[in-house]
Symmetry: C2
Subunit: 158 residues, 2 copies
DNA sequence: AGCAATCCTTACTAAATAAGTCGGGATTAA
DNA sequence: TTAATCCCGACTTATTTAGTAAGGATTGCT
């Protein structure tokens, strides 16, 4: 049940854009350096977010990407569902489910999958990128810049 | 984020054992027929549950499997974590995490992964196999046996 | 105008994981 | 003794993941 790197790295990218919200377009190269992700892979991830209207792009030199609205108006759920698709533990609880389990009100496991899905969604929808920023600033104070950079290098991404 | 068939089918198997709790050992063949799962695959799944002490086996003719304790004492979380491993959205929040992110109290995403994990665990630990039985009996009444069997055949598993 | 920095798009690939199957051995009730 | 069952390890096939690669399109800057 581990999220794919798509969701995890994509969220880091979105968080990075949130960090620089209001400063004009942020090029992938700079996100790449800060977040330690390859540019080509970032391109793939951010293309998804762009298609879903979560980020906007500015082409050409001095171009880059920006969040399409204020970090407080974008939830982690928006980002993760965009990148990962619906976060359901089984297909039968998806909305577009035409094929199977339609009239399966008779289905005990389905009830369970729905509970799990609702619970996940309620968590990720209740946290906005702004909340992550706030968390970050609170945490940041406890470490020196050097410590943080050192951590970034020695430890992996999570 | 869809659970693998391991978790989903394994839970069905466990639920089937719960349905027949107290009736002596249940052979895989009969679970296979009722739940529409192959015997060899079921063997693989139930072996995991057995290693984790959730079911016990009786070898030889007239043998089979039984839940190792009352359905009310086995949570869906016990079953799913046994089959799927810990249900975390990222590796860094696992207990056995020696390698990475150890002193990453400085890590905004980690806080989020923990919230998600806690929320999933709290749902699946709050539902026991007995609860599923109760649900099943309540739902079952609304459908004829024929309707249910027909559903099992026309629709897939979920 | 020309260049360099960007975004944008499509295709490709290697590795890992998922989802089983298969064959045969061990145990035991009837 | 036999048939039903659990038990175990190896094997296979398809899918997904996690990227890389190559090149085209756009635009600010000089």
């Amino acid at each position: 049940m581990i999220l794919s790197t798509k969701g995890r790295y994509g969220l880091r990218a979105a968080f990075d854009l949130a960090l620089h919200y209001g400063e004009g377009p942020v090029p992938l190269k700079s996100i790449s350096e800060r977040q330690n992700l390859s540019v080509p892979y970032l391109e793939q991830l951010i293309a998804i977010l762009r298609k879903d209207g979560l980020v906007t792009s500015v082409r050409g030199a001095q171009g880059g990407y920006m969040l399409s609205r204020h970090p407080s108006k974008i939830s982690v759920g928006n980002i993760l569902r965009s990148l990962e698709g619906p976060l359901a533990p089984a297909e039968c609880v998806l909305d577009d489910n035409d094929k199977e389990c339609i009239k399966a009100d008779y289905c005990v496991t389905r009830v369970l999958w729905e509970k799990i899905m609702d619970s996940i969604n309620s968590v990720i929808d209740s946290v906005s990128l702004q909340d992550m920023l706030d968390d970050y600033e609170r945490i940041e104070k406890d470490y020196t810049k050097e410590e943080r950079e050192n951590f970034d290098k020695t430890k992996g991404l999570c």
